[in-house]
Structure formats: C-alpha cells, structure tokens
Amino acid sequence: MNTVMWFAELYIALLAGFVGYQMIARVPPLLHTPLMAATNAIDAITVVGAMVLAGRGHGWLATVLGTIAVASAMSNVVGGFLITDRMLAMFRGGSGNGAAKAASNGRGMH
C-alpha cells in the first residue's frame, strides 16, 4: 500500500465528511427518523466488500464470514430502502385540512 493512495483516501473521507455535514445539518428535525433509516440503508454498501470476500475463494472461513456479512448487509439494503420509502411516502405538506393556513403562517418546520 503506498502513501499517496492513503492520502488520496484521507482527502476523500475529509471531503465526503464535510459535504455530508453540510447537507445533513440542513435536514429538518421532521425527517430525522427517515434520515437515520436512509443513512443506514446507504451504509449497507459494505455489502460490496462482503461480496468480494464471499466470492474470492480465499479459504472456507473467509467464505463463511463473507456470506454472513453479505446477508446482514443485504438485509439492510432491502429493509432499509423499503422502510425509508414507506416513511417518506407518508409525509404530506399541503393537502389535508388546515395545512395551508399553518404553512402560510411561515412557522412550519422546514
């Protein structure tokens, strides 16, 4: 592993962390539960690391651990995106009685 590559990775982590912080700080408290479900689903990208482990054929232990890892991460992929979508589908802004009034007061949470 060479040093240049490590520093490149550190830069990526730094920039991604900064972008993430800036974006997520603007997520309204209204959406904090879906946000947690969503980041969890996205975080399940570890599935790709697990897939390599399970498919590389580097000994039975790595294959077994890799397969378990693929299954756990994949359960978060499927379950995470489904539940996030279920939640986000429920949030309605303008429709429903009294909503327009409250929104025009400009005191909504967004």
């Binding site: 993430g20 975080d43 570890t46 429920m90």
Partner: protein
Amino acid sequence: MSRDTIVLAAYFVSSILFILGVKSMTHPDSARRGMQYAALGMAVAILGTLFLHDIITYKWIVIGLIAGSIIGYPLGMWVPMTAMPERIAISHTFGSLAAALVGIAEYYNAYHLTGATGVGHAEMAALGLEVLFGSLTVTGSFMACGKLQGFISERSVIYPYQNETNIGMFVIAVLMFLFLIIAPGAQVVFYAMTLLAVLLGVLMVLPIGGADMPVLLSLFNAYTGLAAAATGFALNNYVLIITGALDGASGFILSIAMSKAMNRSFTNVLFGAFGSATEGAVARSAEGLAVHPITVEDAALQLAYAREVIIVPGYGMAVAQCQHQVRELTDLIERRGGEVKFAIHPVAGRMPGHMNVLLAEVDIPYARLYGMEDINPEFPQADVALVIGANDVVNPAAKDEPGSPIYGMPILNVEDARSVIVLKRSMNKGFAGIENDLFYRDKTFMLFGDAKDSLGKLISEMKNA
C-alpha cells in the same frame, strides 16, 4: 474497457446517486424521489461488483444476497411505525456485523493464506477501527433493540464503579488498537481487542434508560458509519469511504442535536456516562399535593369549546399505538371550529423524529407539526394543551429546580396554556424517575387510563357533544 474499470465506474455512479439521495433529505417533498435514486445507486454498486475479476465463485454471494433479502423484506414492510426505534437499532446491528466480519476475515487471511504477507501499519489502523467500532456496535445496538423491544429490562442497570470499569475497558481497547498499529502481527491482541469491544458494547448500554435512547441510537448511527468508512480504507474502496463518511456525519449531527435537546454535553454522551442521573437527587417531593382528575365528559367539553388546542405527543402515544385516535380527535376539534397544532420535542419518544413519523402515518400534514422554538410562544394563546404520553419533556422542574437531574433541559412550556389535560396511565414517574410538578398544578387535569381507551372515549363523547 476492462472489467475492473466497469466496477470503478459503477462505484462512481453510485457515489453520485448516494450524495444526491442524502441531499434530497433536506426537504420532505424531494426526499422520497431522492432516496429512490440512492436505491438505484445501491443496485448499480451491487451489480457492478459482480464484474470484479477477483470473484471466482458466485454461489455464496447469491446465497447471501437471497438470504439477506428474505430477512430484509419483512424488516422493511411489516414493521409498524410505532416500532421504528427498535427496527433502526437492529439494522445498526446488521450493518456493523457486516463491517466487523469483513474486517476479521481480512485480518485472518492476511496471516493464514498461503503467500500472505501480513498487514501493513496503515492497513492495520483501518482494520482496527473497523473491527473496534463494528464489534462494539453489534452487541451495543442489539442490547438497545432488546431494551426497546422489552426482552431486556429498559431500566438502567447500575453497579458500583460502572463508569470507571467501562472507561477503563475502553482505554484498554484503544491501547490494544494503538499497539496493533505498531505491531500488526500480534494476532492474539487483535482477537482480544475484538472480544473486548463485543463485551464493551453490552456493558456500555446496560446503564442506559429509556429516555436516553435517542442519544444512543444516534451514536450507534455514527459508529456504524465510522466502521463502514474504515472498511473503505481497508479495502481501498472509495464508495465505502464516502457513504461511511455520510453516515458518520449524520450520526454525529443527530447525537449533537439530541444531547443539546437534553442539555447534556457531547463528551458526556461520547463516554456513555449518561443514564447515570442520580436517583436520589429528586428535589421536591410531591407529598401533600393532590392531582385533579378529570372525567371524560369534562375533558371533551373543554376540547369541544377550545379555539386553539396544542397536542403534545410523547412515547406513550407510540406505546399505546393511538396515533389514529389522535387524528380522529383532531378532526373532531376542527369540525367544531378549533385549531389544532402539534408540539414536537426533539427527544420525544425513543429516537429523533419518531413522533413526526407517527403523525405523518395518520396523514397529518407536516406543516402542522411544530418544533420546540416555534411552538413555545404559542402556548399562552392555547386554550388547551393536550399531553399524550409525554412526561419529562413537559416537566417544569427543568426550568425551576436547579437540583433536578433534568435541570436546564429545554422543555415545551405547556404550563403556559390556559388549561392542561394530561393523558396518563398512572402516576408513575417518567423515565428520568423524577416527580413532575406539572401534574399538581391547579390548571392541570389528569385523565387516567390507557391513552388509546381515553382517546376513544373522548372521541365518542365529542361526537355527542
């Protein structure tokens, strides 16, 4: 184009889609579409990975993907909204389990495969972080899920020298990690560190009571992200680093928001010293004070003639699963010309934003859900503040009693309303274990019973009124 270029291009596309997805979460109208992009990004990454030339057999990958989908589908579709905190906790367990297992297997192979050359110092730093945070979150989050689900007692378990033991073990784990960076070949130390982290996860969560769950869940959100980012460093996989950083940032921000909402310092949260609010510090006893019970008829009458009603939901609403009744009551009050607003405390419930999801589930538009700063000036104009299963977040002791464990925590000023009706199961104390002075005030009326039953009775009474 070589096969590995396809993989790198796929990861690049998914990174873009993930970032767009998270950005869409800044507004409820764009959030759903954005997360669909993110889901597409995940599909691209998974399909792209199949092209990797390293992969020689697909059998176990496919088995894992199918098994995970079978576990994931019910976790996505069948879990009720009221159970969201434990659902999120168990997904932290799964996510960090994947990271930890990948880390352990990578380390094992680096010393046991024929021709393996061991682990370099920098790679050890990544693997160590991955396994440390991963293992800790596996058990810690499982414990949190157990406490939320009720198969582990939600009470905080406290024993002598608890914080000292936990901090001591944490320090030892960190020292082992530092030692491994210097001497990556010390395999015994690696596995000992992993075991210690697994144990630490359990011990860390034991002292934490229900009211502190929002902080704990946010913290594990951050840890899962850190473990994923570390996995990215260990595998030199950029998309893992990026998503890990996004997840870490989200957990970090939520932890800060939650600890602010509870008036706790972030270091207090980080070192798990929370939940240890001394139970002996109850400042004022409620002896000699009497509550004012109210009949369903009188409560219905108050609500029927109120012009402005502010509903304050708490975890009790989730436990009683009465959000549908809350909606029905809201409609009835409005049909009689009253206005209904909802006051959401940041730590109401067991996870950040849980109350909003439950109210959204029953089609209450989000424009009517107000945060603490927005709603507090409104209470003096409210005829009735209806508290449904909330306790500590409306406890005036946070403002009046410097001796109280929750002193300094920002609260909803329900006592400013002309009248307060509290739906409560019994006179049990809140999760902080403190007496709530609000319940004894002259304008506070207690409607005892299961919130769902009480609301049902209120609804039928209001229909007759």
